[in-house]
Chain length 360, copies 2
């Protein structure tokens, strides 16, 4: 077993060791098939089983009703930023966006290239350190788009926004998918790049309601229509087979850890250790409003850029990786997704206490 650092990377991010170990054993031969997991035809029996197990694990874990399809696409959330308006936003209609950080800014920017997009709420006035609680919806928006967790600014929706009747909710759940129970029936479309809570980069999980698949534009290239991928069970073209395999292992790992309620409990406990310390620290301060603070990405600063830099160096010298904050916020960011171990947070807090005591 190689020595492993505590990896606070925002994504690609830490994966469960059990998953990595299982993948390692199957690189040269998936089970006793004599063909490595990356080398199996996507249409062969062995990979078909991997695919079906991944779909089933996903459906079971999140209790996804039969009238939703589970798709594995490519291109990350950034591709869904244009997929969604291309499919659902006709010229004469408007789509509404909740703008809670860099990713939702990018999502509305792409929508505006393709049609009418309206800002229904924004927390830009305070550098996105909170989640807006009041909304200014347009008249009869075709859909409402939100970003469930804001990786860069460390905020997270604690409950879903109410949306206008006859509209449907599209959510970019890339950075908190399956970190807690989810009621899929509240959404029309959920998408998530895998590289935070689900697997490696290069595969996007899409959960979409059947009626929306049918409603999508038919004037698009085949690959840009959700119906193409839904009709072919994500096999219209060659899917990212290895990514799907790893996602399946991660979903089974979540199941073995007790499922989404257990993840939620653990994530609250893990983030709680860090937030509790931050609340009483005289040196370090959380940047997000307490009531909207993310359980996935904990952002904090000392208020002194030099000291932030010194602390980051200190973490690196002590075997922590990836704790430097995004330049939009500065300071530090601890990304502590499902697979991040509690021991790593305890070790970080211990180091922060020492650093605080050394810099009073």
């Amino acid at each position: 077993m190689p020595h492993r650092l505590f990896n606070f990377s925002a994504g690609p991010a830490v994966l469960p060791e059990a998953v990595l170990e299982e993948a390692r054993e199957n690189l040269l031969s998936l089970g006793d098939s004599g063909v490595g997991i990356m080398e199996h035809s996507h249409r062969g029996k062995a990979f078909t089983e991997v695919y079906e197990e991944t779909v089933s694990a996903c459906r079971e874990l999140a209790n996804i009703p039969e009238n939703y399809k589970i798709l594995f696409l490519q291109g990350g959330a950034s591709s869904q930023f244009y997929f969604a308006p291309m499919n659902f936003l006709p010229d004469e209609r408007t789509a509404d966006y909740h703008v809670t950080g860099t990713w939702s800014q990018k999502a509305i920017k792409e929508a505006k290239i393709l049609g009418n997009a309206h800002t229904a709420s924004s927390s830009e006035d305070k550098n996105f350190n909170y989640i807006p609680k009041s909304y200014d919806y347009s008249d009869n928006p075709v859909y409402v788009h939100m970003t469930s967790n804001n990786t860069i600014f460390g905020t997270q929706y604690q409950s879903l926004p109410e949306i206008p009747e006859n509209s449907f909710l599209i959510s970019d759940n890339s950075s908190d998918i399956f970190s807690k129970p989810i009621d899929v029936t509240k959404y029309g479309l959920i998408y998530a790049g895998a590289q935070k809570n689900l697997g490696p980069s290069g595969v996007t999980l899409v959960i979409i309601r059947d009626d929306l698949i049918q409603k999508g534009s038919k004037k698009l290239p085949s690959m840009l229509q959700y119906r193409t991928h839904a009709d072919k069970g994500s096999m219209f073209n060659t899917p990212p087979t290895f990514g799907i395999y790893i996602m399946g292992l991660v979903l089974k790992w979540i199941h073995s850890e007790g499922g989404l309620s257990a993840m939620d409990k653990k994530n609250k406990q893990k983030a709680g250790i860090l937030y509790n310390y931050l609340e009483q620290s005289k040196l370090f301060n959380a940047t997000a409003e307490k009531e909207d603070a993310s359980l996935m990405n904990v952002t904090f600063v000392t208020g002194n850029e030099e000291l932030d830099k010194k602390f980051i160096q200190c973490t690196e010298a002590n075997g922590f990786s990836g704790i430097k904050g995004h330049r939009s916020v500065g300071g530090m960011r601890a990304s502590i997704y499902n697979a991040f171990p509690e021991a790593g947070i305890e070790a970080l807090v211990k180091l922060m206490k020492q650093f605080e005591s050394d810099h009073q």
Copy 2:
């Protein structure tokens, strides 16, 4: 070392064992970084090195001039089918397509959704068993599109088609990229899904000339413009990091095997063993015209569907995998990309001889 079958899959396909073994050693920790290859941030030092080494290996291997960018995109060749016309085919112009099989049929179909596309040649009259030698170009096409090797029908261009002046060549090289030397300066844009000669599915290699990047449409969503990915060194969004890593290992493996000329020699030798036998066999016949026969995918039949089926069962019973032909051609297909070992072809021919002798 697990027992490995001879894997004739058309893609995802066999990878060099040395590559799989190296990847296995880096799944839990890339070198001594303490963070697995899939878990490294795409913006961190460790992955930046992987990315830069992969670009360099590619540039060096194929002698790619500095005025071409090397990009790693997602969505496979199927996404390039619409990327190319979206970027380069304005309403008032026409693009010409050489239609030599299922994949070029798909390419022109997507182009026709987006603009004017003209069939400059087609071998559909003989179920695509040859490469057309004469062309009917439209007046001043903006580009000419070709598929260098036809996985399903077992044909391959032996030399590039002449194209009209003021046009540029776009080629889908998915199934024979880096199987032989290539003069990149003859092309405007080359694309290749990785899952045949380069790595796992989920990463697409794009080699594109600088002036075309600039000429591409600016009215598209950011992710659909080549310039976006070129400007950001494939890091506008999170790239498929693991796929890029594996591609880098494969490129270095090709280099260690002697480069593209050595690959060409080996591929000729390998395919030669099978074609030589087919030429004198009284039971098995190659389906592609001899002069256009592919070194990557060797398609053959007995002429009797029942016997084909029996032979396929015989290969499976004898530890070969993935030799069933595509339903468009029927019979058998031996996909023998760069990483496929010569020993596997010798073993296949031995089995074919035995089967022939048993069924005279």
